[in-house]
């Protein structure tokens, strides 16, 4: 996989042209940084959902659970 492909995968879309033509090392590093941020974001959200469901008063826990988990 080329560095550009790695970045496209990390972004979920093709990067802008001026970015796509940057050196491979830059693209790879950026892709890794985005993947790391995504992993952290997902973990934060998961933790937030758990905190919210466990923490809200029992009376509203049902609707909060439904809102958060669908």
């Amino acid at each position: 996989m080329t560095a550009k492909d790695e970045l496209t995968k990390a972004l979920g879309a093709a990067p802008p042209e001026a970015v796509a033509t940057l050196p491979a090392a830059t693209l790879t590093r950026l892709a890794e940084q985005i993947d790391a941020a995504k992993a952290r974001q997902d973990a934060d959200l998961e933790k937030s959902v758990k905190v919210a469901i466990d923490g809200v008063p029992f009376a509203v826990r049902g609707i909060v659970r439904k809102a958060l988990l669908g």
Binding site: L11, T26, A36, Q41, S48, V49, A52, I63, L68
Partner: protein
């Protein structure tokens, strides 16, 4: 002789767009490397792509929580949100709130919590909601964020908030906050309005609280046309300090931009601290105006003498070329004729005859011996094409004044000029004037 090396120009900040991307990735801007040459428009696209990637998957989840806020009474929603909804998640939900609901909730949670949400908000996606928020709580959040020195994050919102909200933020900013945040701002019309309408007390506070070096930093970060109210409030005695700091950094182009917005007194103060090499560097960059004329006229003789003494003939020639001749009068009166002759020699050597001869427009200010030297240089140089072209361009009075000194020329020089006339190498004006000579 080349100008003395200057202190390095301070780098104000990472590009705002790279700063935004770093913030999104929870990185220090210095960790986002290799993007410096990418145009801002592409960096914005990249930022939005990353934002979508990070938060896109949970959009439906956030939308459901936003919808939930409609079914829970406002007071309870505020309490529950602050207690159980972490700021990162609250930020995503906030971007999807009904603006009316957001207005209600913003008054029901603490400023600390709001500040945390603000730090996690996406400036673009949150714009429809943020624009409906009243300025007062935004001012409070701004104060909290200024207190935390979250300048880069705040700068991202300059295009998101309303003019009133921007004004509220500027109101609570200290001069040092502004000094830190202004270089990070991507300028827009709202900022123009806010800076133009800054209250007098705020402008005075900025102009009098910052040191000359700090004001110099602020000046370089702002477009001069936007500095008008602040410039007017800077005490004249501080201007010399600002100018000195900028001259020391070699910020000549940045300084030249201010010529049109400063008062004559400020120009005086700035010129008085300029070294001859500073003047050599800055003069060619100036867009001339009446204020500059007055300043040149009133330059202390000692300073002009220092210029003549310190600059070598090549540098003096550069200065002469950079100045409009009609404005050189006060300087020409002080510069020794020998120096002018040397400058003339340099200009001839560079074949800048046209530049040299244009100075005969201020012929009344040039001593006879200098005119003699000028004519002598023309004869010596024998660049008749250039001389003819330049001579034909000057006015009849200047032509007559120049040739009035013909008789004082060395015989050899007279002979050369006559020979050129006989050979048809002089223009009609010079030939006609020469015909009248015995």
């Amino acid at each position: 002789m080349s100008p003395t090396p200057k202190a390095p120009v301070p780098s104000h900040a990472v590009s705002p767009q790279i700063g935004r991307i770093a913030r999104l990735l929870h990185l220090d801007p210095s960790e986002v490397t290799g993007l410096d040459g990418v145009p801002d428009a592409d960096l914005r696209t990249l930022h939005d792509q990353i934002s979508k990637r990070l938060f896109g998957d949970a959009q439906r989840q956030f939308a459901r929580v936003a919808a939930l806020s409609k079914t829970i009474p406002g007071p309870l929603a505020g309490v529950l949100a602050e207690k159980f909804l972490p700021p990162v998640m609250a930020a995503r939900v906030s971007e999807m709130l009904d603006p009316a609901k957001a207005r209600d909730l913003i008054g029901r949670v603490s400023v600390t919590y709001l500040a945390e949400i603000a730090l996690a908000l996406d400036p673009v996606r949150s714009k429809p909601v943020v624009q409906k928020l009243p300025p007062e709580p935004i001012g409070k959040v701004a104060k909290e964020l200024f207190g935390r020195q979250e300048y880069a994050a705040m700068a991202e919102f300059v295009g998101t908030v309303t003019t009133d909200a921007l004004m509220a933020a500027f109101e609570v900013a200290t001069p040092h906050d502004l000094l830190a945040v202004v270089p990070l701002l991507e300028w827009n019309d709202n900022l123009d309005v806010v800076v133009a309408d800054l209250p007098h007390h705020k402008v005075t506070q900025i102009a009098t609280s910052l040191t000359p070096v700090e004001l110099a930093d602020l000046a370089m970060a702002l477009d001069p046309s936007r500095m008008g109210p602040i410039v007017a409030a800077v005490p004249a005695e501080v201007v010399a300090g600002i100018a000195k700091a900028l001259f020391e950094r070699g910020e000549y182009a940045g300084m030249a931009r201010f010529v049109g917005v400063v008062t004559p007194e400020m120009l005086h103060a700035a010129f008085e601290v300029a070294t001859p090499h500073d003047l050599l560097a800055v003069v060619p960059l100036l867009e001339w105006n009446d204020n500059l004329d007055h300043v040149i006229e009133e330059l202390p003789e000692g300073q002009v003498e220092a210029i003549a003494a310190e600059l070598d003939p090549g540098e003096m020639a550069d200065l002469a070329v950079g100045l409009d001749p009609s404005r050189m009068g006060p300087i020409l009166r002080v510069v020794p004729p020998a120096t002018v002759a040397e400058v003339a020699r340099v200009l001839f050597a560079r074949k800048q005859v046209a530049e040299m001869v244009k100075f005969v427009d201020v012929i009344d200010d040039i001593p006879d011996e200098v005119v003699d030297a000028l004519l002598g240089e023309i004869a010596e140089g024998e660049d008749w094409d250039s001389a003819q072209q330049a001579f034909e361009e000057v006015g009849p009075e200047a032509q007559a004044r120049l040739f009035s000194r013909f008789d004082g020329l060395a015989p050899a020089h007279q002979a050369r000029i006559r020979a050129a006339a006989d050979a048809g190498e002089l223009g009609p004006a010079a030939t006609a004037l020469l015909t009248g000579k015995p």
